[in-house]
Subunit: 146 residues, 4 copies
């Protein structure tokens, strides 16, 4: 899974943004924001992706399921403050979608992530194709700028 020529440390890459307010409990005994909290912020960006395309509009049983995630931790993040998560669609497969993310605190890139997110039928409990209408809506808001 490569990100090709895109640079997720550049906030200019992203149009879809999610903000999180840091919590005291996001810190660990090292006094910085813990990697598990950052994994949760990546999830926040994926939920923003799901919502920007309104995944449940045509089928209320659909949800996202994470197939694979890679996170690179690039700088310490510190409480208190906010983290902004930019999420961009790299491309859709049949039932999967590749996403790239950049996480920023005060304009500084603290982490980047790539993910393979699967369209999941929560009733049938199996992966299904992303609806074409969802793809179009999501690409319009979180795809490559045109």
């Amino acid at each position: 899974m490569g990100v090709g020529s895109v640079d997720p440390t550049d906030p200019g890459l992203f149009r879809l943004w999610r903000e999180e307010i840091l919590r005291y409990g996001d810190m660990d005994t090292n006094g910085h924001v813990n990697n598990v909290a950052i994994a949760q912020f990546c999830e926040g960006g994926r939920v923003a992706f799901e919502r920007c395309g309104d995944l449940q509009r045509e089928n209320a049983d659909l949800g996202l399921s994470l197939a694979k995630v890679t996170i690179e931790f690039r700088a310490e993040a510190h409480f208190p403050g906010m983290v902004r998560i930019g999420t961009r669609i790299l491309g859709f497969g049949r039932s999967s979608c590749r996403l790239v993310q950049g996480l920023f605190q005060d304009g500084r890139c603290i982490a980047t992530s790539e993910a393979v997110s699967v369209c999941f039928d929560t009733r049938a409990r199996r992966a299904v194709p992303y609806p074409e209408a969802f793809k179009a809506r999501a690409l319009a808001l979180a795809g490559p700028a045109t």
Copy 2:
């Protein structure tokens, strides 16, 4: 970062094990264990790695910092129950260590992970070389079987 010929879905790969008891809050609205909880279990395995080699024995300021992690989600995990995390050292660099992990519930592989874990001086707040004595101790317990 490749894992070469090792297969982390095979519990026989691992000698160092950590167990976690699942909590109700590990589940998400999909009714299965959430990916962020699984990221936390991977951290549990890395802490077991740190402890098996007694990283603070010669220098109390040392800790682990995560540089990069990849997690592949392979099967749903369900509450209640336990998850066992196997952790194996793939190799040491100067101040980094590559780890591979397999996570199992009831003998079934639910996730695998690769990580680059850095030796971090919590006072100086920068990466430092892993102590040779730590490497030897950790390899004896979590390295490739000889």
Copy 3:
């Protein structure tokens, strides 16, 4: 809400036990187990209460909802290790149940809790009476010893 004459710092008070394995992330920047983690352990004990009486046996839509909780923090708890949570029924109202809990690490009481737990119809999204059969089963395992 009083606990009357019972002493929840005495492990002898409890017959229903739940165990939790502490996680690195349960600690906060003070280097001890955080109060929010302890609130989660109290939840673990309440889930054990729900399960000991098999709340869904006659009605799959039933669940617990917390109406009120009081936690007293009595000693620091430390990672790594385990916490044992004892839970005892103080008494049932129509749709509520009063519980008392003691949390112990290595035999030492780290916290005690009282809770009012409501029987919640997850479909109707309102409190309903606890089924009589559940009450009988739960009291047999988590009520006052006879």
Copy 4:
């Protein structure tokens, strides 16, 4: 521990506010914000109390430690959205402080809390008196309106 004549379901009671952005993971399998997340929001309000009075200004070793907390859950909270936490000082003892809190989503009170928060010397690991200067600063911002 009583709150006397104050009504924490009235947002007009509070001058010190903390905001939290809800996260997907704050929800549980019931599809609403979990009680443990609400306990974390109460912590956020206590941290705001600590910060409004700048507890470390005269002594960097000081922190808060929670001695007792009571939370009443009054309405379901739902993702996505925000929660506002109002925190008000009820009174200082020698090394303890009684706080009352109201938590609101979209203007609706979802929970109220009372807490006894102790001034904790993180080096000596014991309760110490709140500094008089902290008390004055905190009361000016989070005490009863005058």
